[in-house]
Structures are given as structure tokens and as C-alpha cells.
């Protein structure tokens, strides 16, 4: 592994970030252990004793809620011989029993039973043999994060200006809460950072999503989903933000000259459900309908959460050139049912019509990156440009087609990779919890 700081230059990135197994292994430890990593949403384990499977990089977790409502992120690894102890994606359980030798754990991670206990050394203490767990957990507006890094900043400080933007996303629901439903699971043959580059990229829609733009123009006409990228996106006022700590924001709202609902592509059931909303809500119907389409912003929380549309998409690395994308759909809690029915169909729209073109291009990038002698990936657009502004809180703002947000997340990447922080696990009862908002 070359010295990391030579691999990221102000205007370009070395290909090995996408292709080198040793860098990937280090990322899975230092970034997906040292940063605050998104684990799940509270609505996915609403009741005492609920649990849901999650990951921190390649580490498998069981995120549990105990009978007092407390949250625990337990490593899915028996303290005895390492077998996973939970095979379900989600469910409800007070105990997890390893099927190999019967060691049994509470949903707080305590070892509660060892069969045939006779024969263990006299100093064998069950308290030393619980499930290892994530030492620091925190929530922000229902989103659950964890880190193995005791020296990491507080969750609120880590999120910084990204926190209030999470708030804006959640506050599109009348109750100020989202309810996470099920998820679409896709996998592509490329490095996880290709998805990350793309999340802050306002330059690609004009070209990568040309099929979608042309289709909408031909079939439906007028200003429709993504038409703000048809020509000269920077003239629309759309912008990108480098929020610090790797978080990114792309705001498409200035590119719309009509309501979200009017520009939303027609999805199945649009007419019947819109009519119902008009009948039920009369003059307020336009505000109700406005809750159905996506947020028209892309908020990316480093290193593994892309909030876009009405979805929470997790970026789950599998190997240096293989990545899972799990797209969890958020319903607006407290909104009329009609809004959430429309949200389900809208959440299938761009993902099934537009995302395949993104994934295809990620795989093409990975193919191109295989050439050792052509070493660099260019990310210079906007560097030193007069339109790039830095606000008092350090947030850097630039026209939407600039590559500043990508340069920003790579700075955070370099910091975490270079820090080599001490990562630790905790025993039951030794973890800390921060409710940041």
C-alpha cells in the first residue's frame, strides 16, 4: 500500500483506491469501524425484544432492542467458536442460542447459559464471554449509528450541518417521523466508492440518464422527473455542498419551476389516488400530494448512507470490486394512506428505470480501472473556481456539476484511513448511547 496521502491529490485520485485489496481491507476496519456507521432506523425494531440484522463493513451485527427498550449492537459471533448465532434478517427474540454447542445469550449480549458447564477452568466467568458489541451507539431523528472508535467525536459533531438536513428529510412527514418499510436489494461488480462518487455527482444525469430524460420527453412531455438536467444544469441554481466529515448534499429543488407532484412522472395509480386526496382534503390537497414524491435532494452521510427520494440506501461493501445497495423505503408516518401507496410506486420508478444505467456505468468504471498504467481518476471540476464558496461553518457550496463534494468525502476518507484509530468492542453494560436529536 503506497503512502495514502500520495494517492489523493487535490485534483485527482489514484486508481488503487478502487482496485487494491489491501486498501479495501484497511477501509473495512478503519472507515467502517472508525466512523459513525449507519446501522438501521428505529422504526425497523419498534417493540421490546425486536431485532434486525445489520453490518459495519464486513462485520455482521444483530441490532437488538431489549425488554426495557434499550438498543444494543451485538456482533453476530459466538464467543465460543465464532459461529453466527442469529440466521434471521429480523424478528423478535429474548435469547440467541448458538446451534453449534448451545451457548445462549440474552438480547443485551450477556452469556446466560453454557451447557455442561462442568469442566471449564475455575476462573471461567460468564461475564467475560458475552457477545462482543459496538461500544458507542447513537440516534439522530430515529436513525441509528454506531462506532468502534472511542475517540470519534460525538454523533452530533460527526453529523455537523448534515444533521439538520436529516431533520428536513424526516420533517416532510406530518408527524415528524418516518416509518421504514421493506427494501430493494441490488448488487454490482464495482468498488463501493463508485456509488459514493455518484451520490455527489450532479454532472452525470444529463448523460448517464439520457434514456430516462428522452423517454420522459417523448412519452409525457413538459417538466418531468430529472428534466432539470436536460441542458445547462448549473444555470438552474441547483447546487452541491461538501458538508464536512465526508457528508454531501445535492439540491435539485432550484431546478424545478413547478411543484414536486406536478413534475413527478406518472406512476401506477396516480389518477385514482390523487382524486381520493382531492376529495378528502379539498384546498389542502396540493400540500398532501407534495408529500408523495421524493425530497428532490440527495443527502449522503459518510460512509454508508445515501438518502435520496423517499429512501434510505445503504452502501454495503462485499469485496474490493463488489458492492450491495439496499434501498429502504420510508413511508411518511401520519400522512394519509394514499400518500404512502403513491410513495411505494414512486420508489420503484427511477430505481427500476434509471438505476440500472448507473450500475452499468459503475461496472464500466471498474473495467476501465483495471488498467495499471493509466493511474488517475480526475475530479478537478470546480477546483479553485470563483463560484465555489466556503461558509462560516466550513460548508463548501458549488454549482451542481462541480466535483467539490467528491473531493470533500475523499478528504474525510484520507483522515480516517491515516488516523488508524484504536477500535474496540464492549461487553454488555459497558456501552454508551447518545441521543443526538
Amino acid at each position: 500500500m503506497d503512502a495514502l496521502d500520495t494517492l489523493i491529490q487535490p485534483h485527482r485520485v489514484h486508481r488503487s483506491l478502487y482496485t487494491d485489496d489491501k486498501i479495501f481491507v484497511a477501509e473495512m476496519e478503519r472507515i467502517f469501524g472508525g466512523a459513525w456507521v449507519y446501522l438501521a432506523h428505529e422504526s425497523q425494531l419498534p417493540n421490546p425484544n425486536d431485532f434486525i440484522a445489520s453490518r459495519m463493513g464486513l462485520r455482521r451485527l444483530i441490532l437488538t432492542r431489549d425488554d426495557d427498550g434499550g438498543l444494543h449492537a451485538l456482533f453476530n459471533r459466538c464467543a465460543h467458536r465464532a459461529s453466527t448465532v442469529c440466521q434471521s434478517e429480523c424478528g423478535s427474540a429474548r435469547r440467541f442460542q448458538c446451534s453449534y454447542h448451545g451457548w445462549t445469550y440474552s438480547n443485551r449480549g450477556e452469556l446466560v447459559n453454557v451447557p455442561f458447564a462442568e469442566g471449564y477452568p475455575p476462573d471461567f466467568d460468564k461475564a467475560d464471554h458475552g457477545l462482543a458489541q459496538v461500544p458507542r451507539l447513537g440516534t439522530y431523528r430515529g436513525l441509528i449509528f454506531g462506532t468502534l472508535n472511542l475517540d470519534a467525536p460525538s454523533l452530533a459533531d460527526w453529523l455537523g450541518p448534515a444533521g439538520p438536513l436529516i431533520g428536513e428529510f424526516v420533517d416532510r412527514s406530518p408527524s415528524g417521523r418516518i416509518e421504514v418499510r421493506n427494501c430493494q436489494r441490488m448488487i454490482f461488480r464495482g468498488n463501493w466508492k463508485l456509488a459514493w462518487d455518484n451520490a455527489g455527482d450532479g454532472l452525470h444525469p444529463t448523460f448517464a440518464h439520457r434514456s430516462f430524460l428522452v423517454l420522459n420527453e417523448r412519452q409525457h412531455g413538459g417538466a418531468r422527473s430529472l428534466s432539470q438536467f436536460k441542458a445547462s444544469p448549473d444555470d438552474t441554481g441547483m447546487y452541491g455542498l461538501d458538508l464536512g466529515n465526508g457528508h454531501m448534499f445535492v439540491d435539485q429543488r432550484p431546478g424545478l419551476n413547478q411543484s414536486f407532484w406536478e413534475t413527478q412522472r406518472p406512476v401506477p395509480g396516480r389518477e385514482w389516488y390523487a382524486d381520493r386526496i382531492v376529495q378528502r382534503f379539498g384546498d389542502e390537497a396540493p400540500d398532501v400530494l407534495e408529500m408523495a414524491p421524493g425530497s428532490m435532494v440527495n443527502l449522503s452521510i459518510f460512509p454508508n448512507l445515501l438518502i435520496k427520494g423517499n429512501t434510505l440506501e445503504t452502501v454495503d461493501p462485499v469485496a474490493v470490486a463488489e458492492t450491495r445497495l439496499h434501498t429502504w423505503v420510508a413511508a411518511a408516518a401520519g400522512a394519509p394512506d394514499e400518500v404512502n401507496v403513491l410513495r411505494m410506486r414512486i420508489a420503484e420508478d427511477f430505481p427500476s428505470l434509471g438505476n440500472p444505467d448507473d450500475l452499468e456505468i459503475f461496472e464500466r468504471c471498474q473495467e476501465g480501472l483495471a488498467i495499471p498504467e493509466v493511474e488517475w481518476v480526475d475530479m478537478s471540476k470546480g477546483l479553485g473556481h470563483p463560484a465555489e464558496e466556503v461558509a462560516a461553518d466550513g460548508v463548501r457550496r458549488a454549482p451542481v456539476t462541480h466535483e467539490g463534494p467528491m473531493r470533500g468525502y475523499l478528504r474525510a476518507w484520507l483522515e480516517l484511513m491515516s488516523a488508524d484509530a484504536k477500535l474496540t468492542t464492549a461487553r454488555a453494560g459497558e456501552t454508551s448511547f447518545e441521543k443526538a436529536a
Binding site: S211, Q219, P268, A347, P356, L359, E360
Partner: protein, 187 residues
């Protein structure tokens, strides 16, 4: 091009899909032999149209109130859950129109597919429609890979024989609980 038809998807149609997708287990006995050849004629013809990417001819075989649905496992009520896709006729036209733009990168080069349709069973539904179930494997070759997509498919056919037509098509991928390779052709 004519303006696309308005969506006919309403709560009643959703309810019908939910009932259709509900497991009926041991209660549903073996299929009716007298329906099988008419159903196979339709399903084999459909497979050929799709393998040859004759998407407009395929779409012409669907009724105006059709639904083409690829649920996620476990299949729940599509009013409260997201699917891979749940298309009415308008969005099916969009899906085909997208491929016809010539700019769908995920289909450059296009997939070559080979569909195996098997285990066909059929039952009459009370209203003159026919329920058909089959096992399907779509082999997709594209670039350097040959990938299978295995599914149990349900069809509600409005007509059998020469003029066969489809009201509902449900594709239950066996691995939809897992990570699915992107597909940009019609399953």
C-alpha cells in the same frame, strides 16, 4: 405518439392482486388438463416474443387493465410495500420506450435471453379468466456472463388460444430476498 392511457390501478385492483398473491397451499389441487395446452400455447409464445425482444408485440397481448408485478420476498400488500416493480400498462410502455430511446446503457450491448417455462398448471377462475402457474428460468447472457433468474410465475389470462391475452403477470424471483443482479430487460 398518442398520450398514454390513464392508470386504471385503484384500491379494488390492488385488492385483487393481494388475493391472487396469497398462498393457497394444499387447498388448490392439481391443475385442469383441458386448460393446459391453451395456456402453454400462450406462455411459450410469450417466451419467444421476449427472447426475441419483440416488446411491442408482447405488450399488445396485455389487457388495458393489466398489471405486471415483480414483488419482493416476503410478498406483502403492494399498497404498503415496495416491489422491484409494479407496472400498469402506462409504465410497461415506459419500460419499453426506455429501451427504444437507444440510450439505455444497461442494454448496450443488449441481453440475449433463453427462457425455460415448465411445470405449467392451470385452473379456471369464476369470471372466465384462467389462472396459470409455472416455473421459469430466464438465462441472461450479456458481456462475459450467463446469469439465471429463477422464478415462480403466476398469470391471469383473459383469453386462451390464438388470441391469448394477459391480465396479470406476477414474477416471484426465488432470490428476491437476496441481492439481485440488475436486470434491464423484461423478465
Amino acid at each position: 405518439m398518442d398520450a398514454p392511457a390513464a392508470s386504471v390501478l385503484d384500491d379494488r385492483l390492488y385488492q385483487r392482486l393481494v388475493e391472487l398473491a396469497a398462498p393457497d397451499g394444499a387447498e388448490r389441487g392439481p391443475g385442469r388438463p383441458d386448460l393446459r395446452s391453451g395456456v402453454e400455447q400462450a406462455l411459450h409464445h410469450e417466451a419467444r416474443l421476449l427472447d426475441e425482444r419483440l416488446y411491442r408485440a408482447w405488450l399488445d397481448r396485455f389487457t388495458q387493465d393489466c398489471v405486471y408485478w415483480i414483488p419482493l420476498d416476503p410478498a406483502g400488500d403492494p399498497r404498503t410495500q415496495v416491489s422491484y416493480l409494479l407496472d400498469d400498462r402506462r409504465r410497461m410502455e415506459d419500460r419499453i420506450g426506455l429501451l427504444e430511446t437507444g440510450w439505455a446503457h444497461a442494454q448496450e450491448p443488449p441481453s440475449r435471453t433463453c427462457r425455460i417455462v415448465s411445470n405449467v398448471e392451470a385452473w379456471p377462475l369464476g369470471d372466465g379468466d384462467t389462472l396459470a402457474r409455472c416455473s421459469t428460468v430466464v438465462w441472461e447472457y450479456r458481456k462475459d456472463r450467463l446469469i439465471p433468474f429463477a422464478s415462480h410465475n403466476d398469470y391471469v389470462l383473459a383469453t386462451l388460444g390464438e388470441n391469448w391475452s394477459v391480465r396479470f403477470k406476477i414474477v416471484r424471483l426465488v432470490d428476491s430476498r437476496s441481492d439481485v443482479r440488475k436486470f434491464s430487460f423484461v423478465l
